[in-house]
């Protein structure tokens, strides 16, 4: 297959902001998979101004130079608006013969991609896809090609509203909300803030490049990722039994992964290639779903593979949350139905892998067989194995062991790790006696123990203790504000689990100490240092994001100030001890504005 990099501007562009010119609607997917998109003409919008521009990300994409000041100027603002402040000329415009000044019409067309979405009646992806987004194009920098798309660029024929009501909508039609083709500024700010916190902490995600502000709280939100293909992009042709379309989609995806250097060892043999693909995807999804569980990230996964990218990156922060405690009974209320819960994400992820098995079988044999016959496929067993391994690994990392200590414990003392995890999970999953309650956007049955607190405090205390904490002391540390007196009653099983927790924890410390010939107290000091970062008291939650977004939106400030406050806020959101040295210590001031946001994070630290 030929290269996907054909539209990259390779010659040296003398214009300071010339790299933006690549984002002109051209994208190789158009050429390689014509079935995968609907094409729209677009026009330049007159109104609109830059609300936010992610300078750090723009540098990563090579859109601006590394030494570009993180401040807006007239020239870059003009360029951002020229590039992203567009609206499509859609079916409604054409049917109603709406004329636009020719000089406002962009030279190239833009694509809205097709993918499967379960909320569409056909359930086959024939009508679904980017309902309010188009792809601006791709940019390549330092050997990585990024896709850029914009949300809020007008109503496409692929929205659920068009499919259900069998009509085309005018962009901005107030009679229909999700289907009018618009996006809101708060969505952009929320996605930007949340995704940058995730990115900082090693969670794969789309990122927000820019927010173009319009009247009435509307906005165009521009996002970037090295490959914006979702599982649902494959599942549409799969459901339609369209081999040609699926094969082209597959080849396109693999070529991009290879060219980006992510899958440089992809085999030449076609059949081996499918096996490679399945192993990679199973690994990605098992790792991702274990990470989501352990970081308490709620991301509504379902069989259509719409809310996630192929590399497990979060896309679309509409229903994404991060919990402060393991609120594993929370369900998002999507009017027609409740979402999956955080623990059910694994089941859905596994089913996605099963669908990929069916898909590669279809690609091999050109005949689609029922999905059920693949339920015992070896890749699904591999998925389970990786998931369990990652769960153990994530917990050891959360305790505060370093990479070599984690490897040692996983390779030589797995049984102790497992026993510890069992006691840890026991406390993590205990729920309030109050039962299920309605919350702002769904239902929840609150967890009552904050495991971050015990992981942070325990190694500190054990530097000085010769014996274990008493059960009362242990409960005193882990209890959250959700716990009532009745929740905290100590029965014999709970006491036993407190003992197991401490016994296995200290056994692991001793194993590590023996291996590196240091004292247990010494290891506890190292663990304390790392754990105080990983399990810091404050942790952003979905509730906190909602309030912080309102706070940011209430600021009457320009893009430089908005960027600065978000940038400074992020300094305090790092949970990765290895990144401490990279943080701009002494440069970040805990200003009143930032402090206000941090206070919100603190207030909602145990929430959903």
């Amino acid at each position: 297959m030929k290269s996907l990099l054909h539209n990259t501007v390779t010659k040296k562009n003398t214009n300071k902001y010339g790299q933006f010119d690549q984002l002109n609607g051209n994208h190789p997917l158009k050429e390689f998979v014509p079935e995968a998109y609907v094409e729209y003409q677009a026009r330049q919008k007159k109104s609109g101004k830059v609300y936010y521009f992610n300078f750090a990300l723009a540098k990563q994409l090579g859109l601006i130079s590394e030494d570009h000041p993180e401040k807006m100027n007239a020239e870059i603002e003009k360029k951002i608006l020229e590039t992203f402040n567009i609206v499509i000329i859609n079916e409604y415009d054409n049917i109603h013969n709406i004329k636009h000044p020719p000089e406002t019409i962009k030279e190239n067309t833009y694509m809205a991609t097709r993918y499967l979405q379960l909320q569409h009646p056909s359930k086959q992806g024939k009508t679904s896809g980017d309902g309010r987004s188009v792809w601006n194009g791709q940019v390549t920098h330092h050997g990585v090609t990024w896709d850029i798309s914009s949300c809020g660029t007008g109503a496409t024929r692929l929205s659920p509203a068009s499919a259900k009501m069998h009509k085309f909508f005018k962009t901005g039609d107030p009679s229909i909300s999700y289907g009018c083709g618009c996006s809101e500024k708060d969505e952009g700010v929320s996605s930007s803030l949340f995704s940058e916190v995730m990115y900082l902490n090693g969670i794969r995600t789309e990122r927000v490049l820019a927010i173009i502000e319009h009247k009435n709280g509307l906005a165009i939100n521009v996002r970037a990722h090295p490959n914006l293909i979702r599982p649902s992009h494959f599942f549409a042709p799969l459901k339609q039994n369209n081999y040609e379309y699926l094969k082209k989609m597959y080849d396109y995806y693999v070529t991009r992964q290879r060219e980006n250097g992510f899958w440089s060892d992809y085999p030449k043999d076609e059949i081996e290639g499918y096996e490679y693909f399945l192993r990679k995807i199973a690994n990605v999804f098992a790792t991702m779903v274990a990470q989501f569980e352990d970081e308490y990230i709620f991301c509504w996964l379902d069989w259509d593979g719409d809310n996630i990218l192929m590399d497990g990156s979060i896309i679309d922060y509409g229903s994404v949350r991060q919990f402060g405690l393991f609120h594993h009974e929370y369900r998002y209320d999507d009017v027609e139905r409740y979402s999956t819960s955080i623990t059910e994400q694994k089941i859905k992820a596994k089913y996605l892998i099963q669908t990929f098995v069916q898909m590669t079988d279809f690609l091999k044999n050109q005949t689609k067989r029922p999905i059920k016959i693949f339920e015992h496929h070896h890749v699904l067993k591999e998925f389970e194995k990786i998931f369990e391994y990652q769960k153990d690994k994530n917990l050891l990392y959360k305790i505060g062991f370093n990479n070599s200590q984690v490897s040692l414990l996983l390779n030589k003392h797995r049984k102790i790790v497992r026993d510890f995890r069992q006691s840890f999970s026991y406390f993590e999953r205990i729920k309030s006696i109050k039962g299920i309650k309605k919350v702002a956007d769904g239902i929840n049955w609150s967890a009552i123990f904050c495991m971050r607190d015990i992981l942070r405090e325990y190694p500190q205390i054990m530097q000085f203790r010769n014996g274990f904490l008493t059960s009362d002391e242990f409960i005193e540390i882990i209890k959250s504000s959700y716990a009532t007196k009745k929740d905290l009653v100590l029965n014999s099983y709970r006491k036993q689990m407190i003992h197991v927790f401490q016994e296995k924890y200290m056994q692991m410390v001793d194993m590590v100490a023996a291996e590196v010939n240091k004292s247990g107290k010494n290891i506890l000091c190292e663990v304390t240092m790392r754990s105080s970062v990983i399990n810091k008291y404050d942790r952003i939650t979905g509730d906190a994001v909602t309030i912080i977004v309102d706070k940011i939106l209430s600021l009457k400030q320009g893009p430089d100030e908005i960027y600065k406050i978000m940038h400074d806020f992020l300094y305090f959101q790092n949970h990765d001890p290895s990144k401490i040295k990279q943080l701009e210590r002494h440069k970040i001031k805990n200003t009143k504005g930032v402090k206000n946001l941090l206070e919100i994070v603190r207030s909602y630290r145990e929430g959903i």
Partner: protein
């Protein structure tokens, strides 16, 4: 009493003072507790702090933010530490927090009973009779967002302390003016400089100054 006052600066700038601090310790396996002025970036500051003191072969350390809930279990260990180090930050916020959680008398008792108490910038000011020096000069002062009106602090020494001192006319004028209003010495220490009080003996590290009754005196370093 054994007290160490740091004028400010980072770990590398304070290496001589840190040496002097460690020299005060009698135990062979000492414990240091770090009390940050504010918990928001306490993990970052503790990371630097702990990494630095590991170089002195200290292998037991506690990070003890006081503006978030803490248990008596950890507090008991804190008050048994060989050294308690009060971090830098906003002096008013730090003082208010320490008062709110009832730690001022406990830390005072700790110091009077032989514990080594040290403080950097805001942490050092808090060991003196009051925190008025945090409120001037106008071009380099802490914002009193907490609206603290009672400036009285630990009162462990009979001098006042001005951190981050820069040897310039505008600082000098401000400090001379203030020293005329008080009846005790005002020690001004630049970043990387500071004071060691070991029982009755006071010594200085770096180029420190004393302002007294409108006069400025350069202090001889140890």
């Amino acid at each position: 009493m054994r007290l160490v006052f740091y004028g400010g600066g980072d770990e590398e700038e304070n290496i001589s003072l840190n040496h002097a601090l460690i020299k005060l310790v009698k135990s062979s396996n000492p414990v240091i507790t770090y009390i940050p002025a504010c918990s928001y970036d306490a993990d970052i500051e503790f990371s630097y702090f702990a990494r630095h003191f590991k170089k002195f072969h200290i292998s037991r350390m506690i990070n003890f933010p006081v503006d978030i809930p803490f248990t008596d279990i950890l507090l008991k260990e804190v008050l048994k530490s060989d050294i308690i180090y009060l971090g830098g930050g906003n002096t008013f916020y730090f003082l208010k927090t320490l008062k709110d959680v009832g730690l001022i008398p406990k830390l005072k008792k700790y110091a009077l009973e032989g514990g080594i108490l040290s403080g950097l910038s805001a942490g050092a000011i808090i060991m003196t009779p009051n925190v008025k020096t945090a409120s001037f000069p106008s071009f380099d002062c802490d914002l009193n967002e907490e609206k603290v009106t009672n400036f009285r602090s630990m009162n462990l020494v009979d001098f006042e302390f001005f951190p981050h001192y820069k040897n310039s006319i505008r600082y000098e004028d401000e400090l001379k003016r203030y020293s005329n209003k008080i009846n005790r010495p005002l020690y001004a220490c630049p970043d990387g400089c500071g004071i060691i009080l070991d029982q009755d003996k006071i010594s200085f590290i770096g180029k420190n100054y004393c302002f007294y009754k409108g006069k400025k005196i350069l202090l001889k370093a140890a």
